[in-house]
């Protein structure tokens, strides 16, 4: 078990999330930075989709009540193990009764903690992820809180310390074109790509809101259409919302475009007041960016194969 001594700002169980239920209004949920989840899992020779802890901001404290091995990835939230600093990108062997604490970081927002064998909560609708809005999945359908005991399988086997670097972060986010370009007009779209946005405080797992001083306001409303993580909605106020994994399945705002799959994970790590800019790219460029990320993972697997 992992006992939660302090849950911090937001601590949830996540995997890749849910698929196949969007027509029923069910969101994806799942790790906002799936690459961090994958790398952490691979370092432990887990399956890519094994459930992990998503730690937002930090300020949490976890006590292990059995031996295991962990891997940490994503943001550096200044973790310590019994008071000694440990670092994202590495694996660590843990003994029964050891305490893992997170302070908070100067860059990045979410850390991912994988344990050997994955977190052993039950699957609901095909996923172990927590749906915070509809209150199901994960740990009793909610974020973790003091006193909760997270089920894991003890591990007493051999331990070889391994590490992996993360793919680079970027602030210039690449986008697929808007399906509503005619409606919104060229002027608005060119204003959009020439704006440096600030990430709003009012952002969460549903979406990242973007503030700015330009005028992107409009008066269009649309019949509801399907939206998904990566869709960028433009409400009449002119403040764009980048939908993330807990976002709803349909919406009535025009779309500025969709974040390419390779860049969506960046939104897991943006902090309030961080700067974000956008650039439209072709479908070929988007596919190439995805190949590059997958190449990074493939290299990692090859390297680990020779080590583990």
């Amino acid at each position: 078990m992992i006992k939660v001594l302090k849950s911090g700002v937001l601590l949830t169980i996540q995997d890749f999330g849910r698929e196949g239920y969007r027509h029923l209004g069910v969101s994806k949920a799942g790790s906002l930075d799936p690459y961090a989840q994958i790398i952490a899992n691979r370092l432990l020779n887990n399956n890519d989709n094994d459930a992990v802890l998503e730690i937002t901001v930090g300020l949490c404290e976890l006590e292990f009540t059995c031996d295991t091995v962990i891997a940490l990835h994503g943001a550096d939230l200044q973790a310590t193990l019994d008071g000694h600093a440990i670092y994202p990108g590495w694996t660590y062997a843990l003994k029964n009764k050891q305490v893992l604490s997170f302070a908070t970081g100067r860059a990045g927002l979410r850390a991912y903690l994988a344990v050997k064998g994955g977190i052993q909560n039950a699957e609901v609708m095909g996923s172990k992820s927590t749906d915070l809005n509809a209150c199901f999945g994960g740990f009793e359908g909610r974020s973790l809180t003091t006193g909760d005991e997270i089920p894991i399988t003890p591990y007493y086997g051999e331990f070889i310390k391994v590490g992996a670097i993360a793919p680079a972060q970027r602030k210039l986010i690449r986008l697929h074109p808007s399906p509503h370009a005619d409606l919104l007009g060229e002027t608005l779209l060119s204003n959009f790509v020439s704006t440096a946005f600030k990430v709003s405080n009012n952002s969460n797992r549903m979406g990242v809101r973007l503030e700015h001083k330009n005028n992107l306001g409009h008066s269009h409303s649309l019949p509801s259409l399907g939206v998904s993580p990566g869709s960028i909605q433009l409400p009449p106020s002119g403040e764009p919302i980048v939908l993330l994994n807990d976002g709803q399945t349909t919406g009535g705002y025009p779309l500025l475009g969709t974040v390419i799959e390779a860049d969506l994970r960046q939104f897991a790590q943006f902090r309030p007041l961080d700067t974000v800019e956008f650039k439209y790219v072709t479908f070929e460029e988007a596919a190439k960016a995805k190949q590059k990320l997958d190449g990074h993972l493939h290299q990692l697997s090859l390297a680990l194969k020779n080590t583990l």
Partner: protein
């Protein structure tokens, strides 16, 4: 020339099929074709999700290899599709029409509460699509006599199972949520249960009607 639906590649593996500009006066007929199109696409097993919304369908492919093929075939599929190929289920929603706003809605329209119940329950509603929260159905068919502007002050908590009217729409809340619609009744029918084999009772394209419970002092509060 007949106006054509708009088809966009949203990403390397998703498409938006948009027929919402075709005929705003006959949304139901267009929506019937959307359900039939979704049903056909589902049978190919090439999609991870197919999401109908208002006269549109968003298609999420399992593999980006098939994007161009679907961009090409969707227009002719749309022309050829027969709405009769899709048939939804019909649901009877047992409803206790004792919501706290039923008298307000009645007064607003110069009707008696019984007349409101009568009009609301004598209609067959179509489930256009689901969204907003798991199991929340956008229904087509509310009689114009019952169209009622939303509450000035939304309630911070509308209880699960509430049957409500907001502007030209009526619906059932599958879970507790804030909301600005007028609550006219309550149902014990479970609309969403994540632990069930089929988590949502109601699917896009289904039909339903509300069946008034004859009250013998039964009270769900």
């Amino acid at each position: 020339m007949k106006p054509a639906p708009h088809i966009y590649a949203l990403t390397n593996s998703s498409l938006l099929f948009d027929a919402s500009h075709l005929d705003a006066t006959d949304r139901l007929s267009i929506q019937k074709k959307i359900w039939a199109l979704a049903s056909h696409c589902k049978s190919t097993d090439e999609f991870s999700d197919l999401v109908p919304a208002m006269n549109s369908l968003t298609l999420y492919l399992k593999s980006d290899k098939h994007l161009n093929k679907w961009l090409q075939v969707l227009p002719s599929l749309w022309n050829d599709i027969k709405t009769s190929t899709f048939k939804g289920q019909h649901h009877l929603i047992k409803t206790s029409y004792k919501g706290e706003d039923i008298n307000y809605v009645a007064r607003y329209h110069n009707l008696s509460a019984d007349e409101v119940i009568n009009i609301h329950s004598k209609t067959k509603y179509y489930v256009l699509f689901l969204g907003f929260q798991p199991g929340f159905a956008y229904l087509h068919g509310l009689n114009e006599q019952l169209h009622t502007p939303r509450r000035d002050e939304p309630r911070t908590r509308v209880p699960k199972g509430s049957v409500a009217i907001g502007a030209a729409q009526t619906g059932i809340y599958p879970a507790d949520t804030p909301g600005g619609w007028h609550i006219i009744g309550h149902t014990d029918t479970v609309l969403f249960d994540s632990t069930s084999e089929q988590p949502c009772l109601i699917q896009p394209g289904d039909t339903l009607e509300f069946v008034p419970l004859v009250n013998k002092g039964a009270n769900h509060d």
